[in-house]
Every structure is written in structure tokens, then in C-alpha cells.
């Protein structure tokens, strides 16, 4: 009875957040499969544990689960990389180019003039976002993109309102600096 009444609004909510959640997870992991697993895991956890909560609480709770999953993934990666580092001191990492600018996709010659500039600068922004510290990226994506207010962002990030403000302002500062630095 209860399950049937919440299934529809829950489905609607998940449809409304799944794309953004995937983009956020992919940005953090840079891996499509990992991102899909993280999003599915977050959806599952929300349904299993928080479906009975009021609808207004779903967005911050869902993003909190998502962020926790992303952080767990990063922790696991860190440990995995640590092991790899110990086992394989002469890895091929020296050959890899870690310059974020190199990762920017060629915007192509689609729009001449300002259009191309804008596209290139957005591509740069994407790289800059992907390279932001985890907490700053969370704050920026939740506030600027998902439109969560400071209090909801604090719930989603599991920190105080003051910390959200700090992370967000640092994110804005870093991104602006990055964009200005590489402005053509």
C-alpha cells in the first residue's frame, strides 16, 4: 500500500536526477561504467532506506548518498594506486601526460568567432571542474548546477553551512582563475 503510493513520485524524482547524477559521477571517476554503478547504487540506497521520508528531503539525501559513493570510490582508488605504486615502482605513469589542458577535446570548427570561444571556454571549464578538489566540485555542482540552497547543500555534503560557503567560494575562485589564465 505504502510502496504503491510512493513508487510514482519516487520514479519521477529519480528520472529528474539520474542524468545529472551520472554526469557528476562520470566527472569524478572519468569512467562511464563506474559512474553508472555509482548512480545505480545511490538510487538503490535511496529507495531502500529513505523512500519513506518526505519528498522534500529526497534531493539532499540522494546527493549525499551519491557523494558518499563517489568518495568511497576515490578512497578505493587511492588504496589501489598505493598498492600499484608499491608493486610497480617503474610504472608507465611517466609516459602519461597529466596536463589537464591536453585532455580538452578539440572543439572543432563548428562555430566561428565568439561561438567557438564560448565552446572552448566551456570545454576548459569542464576540465577545470574535473580537476577541482572533490569537496569544491561537490559544492559547485550542487549549488550552481543542481540549484540546492546552502542548507540542502550542507545536508548533501554532510558538513556545516559555513563549510559549504567556503568550499563554494574557493571553487568559484579556482574556476575563475583557471578560465582567465587560459583565456585566448
Amino acid at each position: 500500500m505504502e510502496s504503491e503510493t510512493i513508487q510514482e513520485p519516487l520514479d519521477r524524482f529519480l528520472v529528474s536526477v539520474e542524468r545529472k547524477a551520472f554526469v557528476m559521477a562520470r566527472m569524478a571517476t572519468r569512467d562511464t561504467d563506474e559512474a553508472l554503478d555509482i548512480v545505480q547504487d545511490a538510487m538503490q540506497a535511496l529507495v531502500e532506506k529513505y523512500a519513506g521520508r518526505p519528498e522534500a528531503e529526497w534531493p539532499p539525501v540522494f546527493y549525499r548518498i551519491l557523494n558518499n559513493r563517489i568518495r568511497d570510490w576515490h578512497r578505493r582508488q587511492k588504496i589501489r594506486n598505493l598498492w600499484r605504486g608499491w608493486l610497480k615502482p617503474w610504472s608507465e605513469s611517466n609516459d602519461r601526460n597529466d596536463d589537464p589542458l591536453e585532455q580538452i577535446q578539440d572543439p572543432g570548427v563548428v562555430d566561428p568567432g565568439e561561438g567557438m570561444d564560448r565552446k572552448a571556454s566551456m570545454a576548459r571549464l569542464e576540465v577545470a571542474l574535473a580537476n577541482l578538489p572533490l569537496r569544491q566540485r561537490e559544492a559547485f555542482l550542487l549549488r550552481a548546477w543542481n540549484g540546492l540552497d546552502v542548507a540542502s547543500t550542507a545536508v548533501a555534503m554532510g558538513c556545516s553551512v559555513g563549510s559549504v560557503k567556503t568550499h563554494y567560494s574557493r571553487a568559484i575562485h579556482t574556476l575563475r582563475q583557471f578560465l582567465e589564465e587560459y583565456r585566448p
Partner: protein, 124 residues
């Protein structure tokens, strides 16, 4: 104040629009997998534990703790009463031996007790 914030707001808005575009352009394979994940998650809605269980669990835990405490207390009380009885009889023994009375009297206690209870015809 607002004029200084305007360019920042503009690029933040543009960034949000750009990310919106990214989210809107996800390919059909990704969308299919997202849909599949969503359906799987919603499928677990019927299997999730009843909402009464979350508050029943601590109650059950509390009740079992109380029951355990009662059992332990009862066991301890029983043990105390048994040792008390032993201690009392031991004290009585000490009293008897330390009283300096004739030990023979105590050895024949049963006889004296029978004697006092027995009914003898009174001599006239």
C-alpha cells in the same frame, strides 16, 4: 555590488547551461542503463522492510536487555540467598563450639527434642 557580481553570475549560469547540455546529450546506451538501474532500484521498494521495523528493533533490543538483566539479577539473588543460608549455619556451628557448654548436650539434642515432645502419663 550587483554589477561586480554580474560577470561571475553570468559564467556560472553559462557553466550550468553547459552541464545541462551534457546531461541532455547522453547517448541511448547510457540512458538505457540508467533506466535499468532505476527500475531495479524501484523494484526493491516492495522488498524493503516494513516501516514499523525501524522502531520495533530498538524496542525488541531493549526488551531483551531487560529480560537478560532480570535473569542475571535473579541468578545473583539466588546465589546470595544460598550463600547466606550456608553462612548462617556456619555461624551457628561456631557459636555452639565456642559457647563452652557441654558438648554432650548438643550431641543428644535429638533425644531431648523427642523427650520434650513425647507425652508421658503424669505420676500421681
Amino acid at each position: 555590488m550587483n554589477t561586480t557580481r554580474e560577470p561571475e553570475d553570468r559564467w556560472v549560469r553559462e557553466a550550468a547551461e553547459h552541464l545541462d547540455g551534457q546531461a541532455a546529450e547522453l547517448d541511448s546506451t547510457i540512458m538505457a542503463r540508467l533506466r535499468q538501474g532505476r527500475k531495479a532500484a524501484l523494484g526493491s521498494l516492495h522488498n524493503r522492510p516494513s516501516s514499523t521495523i525501524p522502531w520495533l528493533r530498538p524496542l525488541a533490543a531493549g526488551l531483551s536487555t531487560v529480560a537478560l538483566l532480570i535473569m542475571v539479577t535473579a541468578l545473583l539473588m539466588q546465589r546470595v540467598s544460598v550463600t547466606e543460608t550456608h553462612r548462617l549455619s556456619a555461624l551457628e556451628d561456631v557459636e555452639i563450639f565456642s559457647s563452652g557448654e557441654d558438648l554432650e548436650l548438643f550431641e543428644n539434642l535429638e533425644f531431648y527434642s523427642w523427650l520434650s515432645e513425647a507425652e508421658f502419663p503424669e505420676k500421681t
